[in-house]
């Protein structure tokens, strides 16, 4: 956890630096009065960067034993991959097909029974499809 915290803070710090540089590219032609559009983002980015440095230092100095909370499991990774496929294929293939297949896969990843998984994925996908297309006139 300590290492993960440091990695996350370091990553945020790098992103902050890039975004801070980006604030100098803002078009300020219309800014006749006041502090300008870059002031607030710069101020918040500086605060984020400062707090990240504090967090990195405190994580580095921390003498507490490493906690054993996991951030990822094989099951969760598969589950997230299934969602990723769902989102990736959302606009490319018919909604009902993508939804039924991915929901069925998710149910299997979560170790639900085969038949009940199939019935559940078909029913819920169909229900959501009907609610949104017939009820709200949204093309899925």
């Amino acid at each position: 956890m300590k290492n993960l915290r440091m990695i996350m803070n370091a990553f945020v710090l790098i992103v902050c630096s890039y975004l801070f540089w980006e604030t100098f590219q803002f078009n300020t032609n219309f800014n006749a009065q006041g502090l300008g559009p870059a002031f607030f983002p710069r101020a918040t980015l500086l605060c984020i960067a400062f707090l990240n440095i504090v967090e990195i230092v405190s994580a580095f100095k921390s003498k507490q034993p490493q906690e054993q909370h996991s951030i990822m499991s094989k099951q969760l990774l598969l589950f997230i991959t299934a969602i990723l496929c769902f989102v990736g294929l959302f606009n490319s293939l018919p909604f009902l097909l993508v939804a039924i297949v991915t929901l069925f896969l998710m149910s299997l990843i979560l170790k639900l029974k085969l038949v009940s998984s199939l019935v559940f994925s078909v029913t819920i996908s169909l229900a959501v499809y009907l609610i949104f297309t017939q009820g709200f006139n949204i093309i899925l």
Binding site: G34, F40, P41, S70, L76, V87, L110, K111, L140
Partner: protein, 500 residues
């Protein structure tokens, strides 16, 4: 009169009942929270008239909070953190064979707590909003900083972590066109970013998808529902008399706690439980933690008692009292309504509708709670894996349906991963959302105040009494852990000197 007619239309009543049923499931299933439910179901209400959409969301909120007490009473597992204190006396009552009475107390006192706090809301909202109408840019900036600091100070173990997520929220709010001169900021020539990052997909990701990811990692065991008979549900007159004092104290206290940004039902129920114990008679004091009806009534009242307080600050000042009201601000914005004092001037009907919906939803809580007590244990037998999968489907489709764009779905997905990471690393999510909501208000008013008060002079924030008080309170809240630590050190040093 028109508002009353709208409230009792079949459509509105249908959505109140639908919201109550959904809220019952959300609250009764450990792991699902009212925040998550409202975040996921908000896109569904987008196409409804405001009174029907709000009817559904408000009844999910009211019923979800009450129903979170059901698993706390029946299986000693709080449905949400707000019902943690309900386990103290609720579960011992179940073990004594009084599950029915405990469920009855939960339904009656949650509903009554919600009703009393709504009455406070109705009485206080107008004067507060009238007072807030006199606020200028400096006061609004101070108000947003005060709201953010309160949430940071209360919501997490570490102020540092709260500050970090709060600033991330403030930063995210700066993406898109600048509020004063419309300069594109961090848009990277992507048209989807010109209007900024949509607030709802972030909420769905952080509170819905992120929560599901976290639960898969924790892998909570399917709940073993109680098999015993529920028995008598209605408390006797003697029992009601015993609970009257804790109820009165709790309904007032929790309304005020609910009004503090960041302080929700979790804090209110523990504070009111402790206070009821403190003021109980010596013989009754021993019953606390062992099945005290007074203790249970106090916590159940506090569960829904925070609603009125949270709505007071949300409607009058635009400051959300808790995560749910933060999402409801987003929902109101979705309908083109901006919470704050102007809402009372520009859309008085919607304010009255919200008052009415809160009253009706809390009455429905009592009815559903009393009549449904015998089926609650069956709801808890539902396999969580089905709920998780359904939540993912609703999250994806809901995010897409908001603007018919896949970009929002990606925002939701990334927010879900960030939500998981932040949960695992103990970073509070509340300040991030509040930063996102209050960011535009803070920035535009900060810049306006400086333009009005003279560009380089920051004195405008300190010469104005209201902004000075609010900013001082914000600083005090953020530095309170440091001040407490200093006081402890000083006291210890004083003690050492005294000994030598």
């Amino acid at each position: 009169m028109g508002v009353v007619t709208d409230l009792f239309q079949i459509g509105t009543i249908f959505f109140i009942l639908l919201g109550s049923v959904l809220g019952l499931f959300i609250g009764a299933l450990p792991g699902l929270t009212a925040t998550m439910g409202i975040a996921i179901l908000t896109p569904l209400t987008f196409w409804l008239p405001p009174e029907q959409g709000l009817a559904m969301l408000i009844s999910i909120y009211c019923t979800g909070l009450f129903a979170s007490g059901i698993p706390a009473i029946l299986i000693n597992t709080p449905g949400t953190p707000a019902s943690m204190a309900t386990t103290f006396d609720g579960y011992p009552l179940t073990k004594q064979g009084k599950a029915g009475v405990a469920l009855g107390v939960n339904a009656i006192y949650s509903g009554l707590g919600g009703l009393i706090s709504t009455i406070f809301l109705i009485l206080l909202a107008q004067p507060i909003s009238t007072f807030a109408l006199s606020f200028g840019a400096a006061e609004y900036f101070a108000l947003s900083i005060f709201g953010l600091s309160m949430m940071i100070g209360i919501s997490g173990k570490s102020v540092k972590k709260g500050l970090l997520t709060g600033f991330i929220g403030l930063f995210l709010a700066t993406i898109g066109l600048d509020p004063i001169v419309s300069t594109p900021r961090f848009t990277f020539d992507q048209s989807a970013l010109y209007e900024g990052i949509s607030f709802i997909p972030i909420m769905i990701g952080l509170f819905g998808v992120g929560e599901i990811f976290d639960q898969i990692l924790k892998k909570q065991e399917t709940v073993n529902a109680v098999q015993q008979k529920i028995g008598r549900v209605l408390p006797s007159r003697q029992e009601h008399r015993e609970m009257a004092k804790p109820f009165a104290m709790s309904s007032i206290l929790s309304t005020f706690i609910g009004a503090i940004p960041g302080a929700g039902g979790d804090i209110a129920s523990i504070v009111t439980w402790e206070q009821s114990k403190r003021f109980a008679k010596p013989d009754k004091k021993r019953e606390f933690n062992n099945g005290s009806l007074s203790g249970l009534a106090a916590t159940c009242t506090a569960n829904n008692g925070v609603i009125g307080g949270a709505f007071t600050t949300m409607l009058t000042l635009g400051l959300p009292g808790d995560a749910v009201t933060a999402i409801l601000i987003g929902s109101l914005m979705m309908y083109g309504l901006q919470p704050g004092p102007n809402l009372f001037v520009e859309n008085p009907d919607i304010v009255t509708t919200i008052f009415g919906l809160l009253l009706i939803s809390n009455v429905v809580v009592i009815i559903v709670g009393l009549f449904g007590a015998h089926i609650f244990s069956r709801i808890m037998r539902l396999k969580q894996e089905y709920i998780w999968t359904a939540v993912i489907l609703f999250s994806v489709v809901g995010s897409y349906a908001l603007n018919n764009t896949i970009f929002d779905v990606w925002v939701m997905f990334v927010s879900g991963l960030v939500g998981l990471l932040f949960r695992r690393l103990d970073y509070p999510l509340g300040p991030l959302i509040l930063g996102l909501i209050l960011g535009p208000m803070a920035e535009s008013n900060f810049r306006r105040a400086l333009v009005i008060g003279g560009e380089t002079s920051y004195s405008v924030f300190f010469t104005n009494p209201i902004s000075l008080i609010l900013l001082s309170l914000a600083v005090l809240t953020l530095f309170s852990p440091l001040i407490k630590r200093l006081l402890i050190i000083l006291r210890q040093k004083g003690g050492d000197n005294h000994q030598t």
